[in-house]
């Protein structure tokens, strides 16, 4: 059934939406006002159990609905926060389980229609993909080639895996075809493990990849330090760069006067190693500063990986900070939404090193990039502080 949808997605989409709508309006199984109200009450759940009392009652209303209500409940995930989305998806699972126990068929067409409509929440669509995969696995998988650039990272990942599998199969005998498939996958991949698999495949075929450019690392920085972090107390202490970034200033550091200096990373994975200019120090704080320029205002994410304590300011505003040391780091460990201004934007990173002496606590580094919500590096973007070395933060 879903193969037909694939062959003419738009036509099917329109037809199925109409069918779904008519079913929705004609269904005797629920009162529209009650359903809408119940959805709104679940959408209102928020931090520290706010809204739970009403949402619990609303959940019973949702769970008692017929399968016809499922597309509307799924669509309500579009405007729900991450907590509410979990409440809503659970109600869908309850409905579908009950219908299955009553030997009612899975509403494949409405669900497939929902899946194909990229305007819906990526999470909701991936959830529908999983539901359909349980009974319509082959048909659902046949839709994947059209999802290489899907807004849902889950669906995109599954689609890319198909291309990767093809590339691997061709790598032995059809090297050029394999390389093109890898390149196709590389333009779409955003998950680090997939990117690494693709880059390795290309390397095997004799093709190099510019990893820093691919990931979009911010590699040009100014650094100043060390400041004192004895007993980890420097994390909360406000040192001069937090009040004002003056790149020509001289400060009282932990062991003497300190000045801003250049720090550029050539690492494939963008690691900005503060040990290089400052030495392998302990119980210290460093600040790194850079400017990024974009041609238009847009939402973005600062994506940071760091195993040291850190704080980050964007355009002078503290975005987040974390006083955890040496528990591990990975690419895109922390994703922080920000609003880029057209023109110059400033980034200040405070980086803390603690007292531990073990080999695995030497690192004093971070990696940062600026992407959209899907993890695509923002372009065009210029990073670094142009001469002369003056800026106000």
């Amino acid at each position: 059934m879903l193969r037909q949808l694939e062959s003419n997605r738009l036509q099917s989409l329109g037809a199925c939406l109409a069918v779904s709508l008519s079913l929705l309006m004609a269904s005797p199984c629920f009162a529209q006002g009650t359903l809408t109200e119940a959805i709104q009450q679940i959408q209102a759940v928020s931090r520290e159990a706010q809204g739970h009392e009403l949402a619990q009652k609303a959940l019973k209303v949702l769970a008692s609905q017929s399968g016809d209500a499922v597309p509307e409940i799924l669509a309500s995930m579009d405007k729900a926060n991450p907590l509410a989305r979990n409440w809503l998806r659970s109600s869908v699972e309850s409905i579908l389980q009950r219908e299955q126990s009553e030997n009612k068929p899975l509403p494949v067409v409405p669900l497939g229609t929902f899946l194909l409509d990229v305007r819906h929440s990526p999470e909701a669509r991936a959830f529908v993909f999983d539901i359909l995969s349980q009974s319509e696995s082959a048909q659902v998988k046949s839709l994947l080639p059209g999802m290489l650039n899907d807004p849902s990272m889950d669906l995109r990942r599954a689609a890319i895996q198909g291309v990767l599998d093809q590339a691997v199969a061709k790598a032995g005998s059809q090297k050029d075809a394999a390389a093109l498939l890898y390149q196709q996958a590389l333009t779409c991949a955003r998950d680090v493990d997939q990117i690494e698999a693709i880059v390795t495949g290309l390397k095997t075929l004799g093709h190099k990849t510019d990893l820093p450019r691919l990931f979009g690392w911010i590699s040009k920085w100014k650094v100043v330090g060390p400041f004192d972090n004895t007993k980890r107390e420097g994390f909360d202490r406000v040192f001069p760069p937090e009040k004002e970034v003056n790149l020509s200033a001289e400060y009282d550091g932990k062991t003497g006067k300190v000045r801003w200096t250049d720090l550029a990373s050539a690492d494939d994975y963008g690691k900005v190693d503060v040990n290089l200019p400052l030495g392998k120090l302990k119980e210290t704080i460093a600040y790194c500063y850079t400017e990024i320029r974009v041609d238009r205002a847009q939402p973005a994410e600062l994506r940071l990986g760091c195993k040291n304590a850190w704080k980050i300011w964007f355009n002078g505003q503290l975005v987040f900070g974390r006083d955890e040391y040496h528990r591990g780091a990975e690419i895109d460990q922390y994703k922080m939404p920000v609003e880029l201004k057209a023109g110059k934007n400033t980034v200040l990173v405070k980086l803390g090193q603690n007292e531990q002496k073990e080999d695995w606590t030497i690192e004093w580094e971070f990696q940062l990039r600026v992407t959209d919500a899907q993890g695509t590096p923002i372009t065009p973007l210029r990073a670094g502080v142009p001469a002369p070395l003056t800026a106000s933060h």
Partner: protein, 399 residues
């Protein structure tokens, strides 16, 4: 008499605490055993496995068992961001229902552990599941969501980049959780009915992977025992009020065992603390030679057993802490053994289950069963069988 009163009180507080139920990490008394159960006399691949079933995701949480149902948590996806709670029929392993959720907190963890590390619990009416992402789920026994909390949404720095693993406990209508880490470290009591905070207590800013316990005093009062690297703090479940605070340090990995009104804490080796309705606990003994590694202590009749990560099993006298014997098992181990009667079942990280007769003068390995998968999670035990899970499979061993 005190012991009898405690058992009667426990039964009154937890009517589901019978040999048919294993509703939390290391069983109803958090000591790896349960009266009225037995372990098999031998392990056998041919006759010893009642059923086995593939799981949809990773996990080192223990299965919990309530009546004829087994509940398991898993995590799947490239970042383990998909969270599963699955209910199986205990008799044949048939899946009864499955609920999935999307992590709202950070899922990063060390490759050896997983997001489904904390063991769920049940109050007999509800299933509670916590994940390393600090997502906290409450379902009824039919799988209907009762409430969902994203604790990292509430407290953004409450996480550990190596992963969290502390399991849940429940008593008196309060769900207890230790969300303890280097940064925004706390423990909390949640109302089982709606998930709201009844209390939230700042805790030492240090990584902590061990699990809380429910302590029942000889007078029938219950407390939550909160263990950390600093020691053990007992709090009232309904209010979080600190009743006593033992400050001699404790393991942040292996958890205390409870038997009657004595807490056996992995502190300075092993320390036996008798607790009462009021005042500080009384130290009964301290045994530097009983030093647990990652696995937690297990109480077997009049014995207490500890194991290091390499597989050296040390048996001590429960009443005095005197070391009785040592037996080297085939390690390494992460999972805590379970025990019943005179037998102890330990499953190493390679999936080799080893059955030990602890009544023998030096202990004796009776039988082995190679499950041929990495097993890091502690088994669960009922009168009906033993449940063991890996990252990919759930087994039921016949009793």
């Amino acid at each position: 008499m005190k012991q009898l009163f405690t058992l009667v009180s426990l039964a009154a507080l937890m009517p589901w605490a019978t040999a048919a139920h294993w509703t939390q990490f290391r069983g109803p008394s958090s000591n790896g055993t349960m009266p009225g159960t037995e372990l098999p006399s031998t392990l056998s691949k041919e006759n010893g496995i009642a059923w086995q079933i593939d799981l949809p995701g990773r996990g080192l949480s223990s299965p919990i068992v309530l009546n004829d149902r087994v509940y398991v948590s898993c995590s799947s996806g490239p970042k383990q961001e998909k969270l599963h709670v699955i209910c199986f029929q205990a008799s044949d392993g048939r899946k009864v229902w499955e609920r999935t959720f999307r992590a709202t907190g950070r899922t990063m963890c060390h490759e050896k552990t997983s997001v489904a590390a904390p063991t769920p619990t049940s109050d007999g009416e509800r299933i509670f599941a916590l994940f390393s992402s600090n997502d906290l789920v409450c379902l009824d026994l039919q799988g209907n969501l009762q409430w969902f909390r994203g604790l990292t949404q509430d407290y953004p720095n409450a996480s550990n980049s190596l992963g969290m693993s502390s399991s849940l406990v429940v008593t008196e209508g309060v769900l207890g959780a230790q969300i303890e880490n280097d940064s925004e470290s706390f423990s909390a009591g949640f109302d089982v009915k709606d998930g709201r905070n009844l209390w939230k207590l700042d805790r030492p800013k240090m990584a902590n992977w061990c699990s809380p316990t429910v302590l029942t005093t000889s007078g029938g009062k219950t407390l939550f025992g909160l263990q950390s690297g600093k020691g053990v703090t007992a709090v009232e479940p309904r209010t979080g009020r600190i009743v006593w605070d033992y400050k001699d340090g404790a393991s942040p990995v292996s958890s205390s065992a409870v038997s009657g009104s004595v807490l056996y804490a992995p502190s300075q080796g092993l320390t036996a603390l008798e607790f009462s309705d009021s005042g500080e606990p009384k130290q009964l003994w301290r045994a530097g030679q009983l030093r647990p590694g990652t696995p937690s202590p297990v109480v077997v009749g009049d014995k207490i057993l500890v194991m290091n990560d390499g597989g050296v099993l040390t048996c001590g006298e429960l009443a005095t802490g005197k070391r009785l014997w040592q037996l080297r098992l085939k390690g390494p181990f992460s999972a805590t053994p379970v025990a019943a009667g005179n037998r102890l079942l330990a499953v190493n990280e390679k999936g080799l289950a080893q059955l030990v007769d602890v009544s023998k003068p030096e202990g004796e390995v009776l039988s082995e069963l190679d499950l041929a998968q990495t097993v890091l999670g502690t088994p669960s035990l009922t009168a009906d069988g033993v449940y063991i899970r890996s990252d990919a499979r759930l087994w039921k061993l016949r009793r």
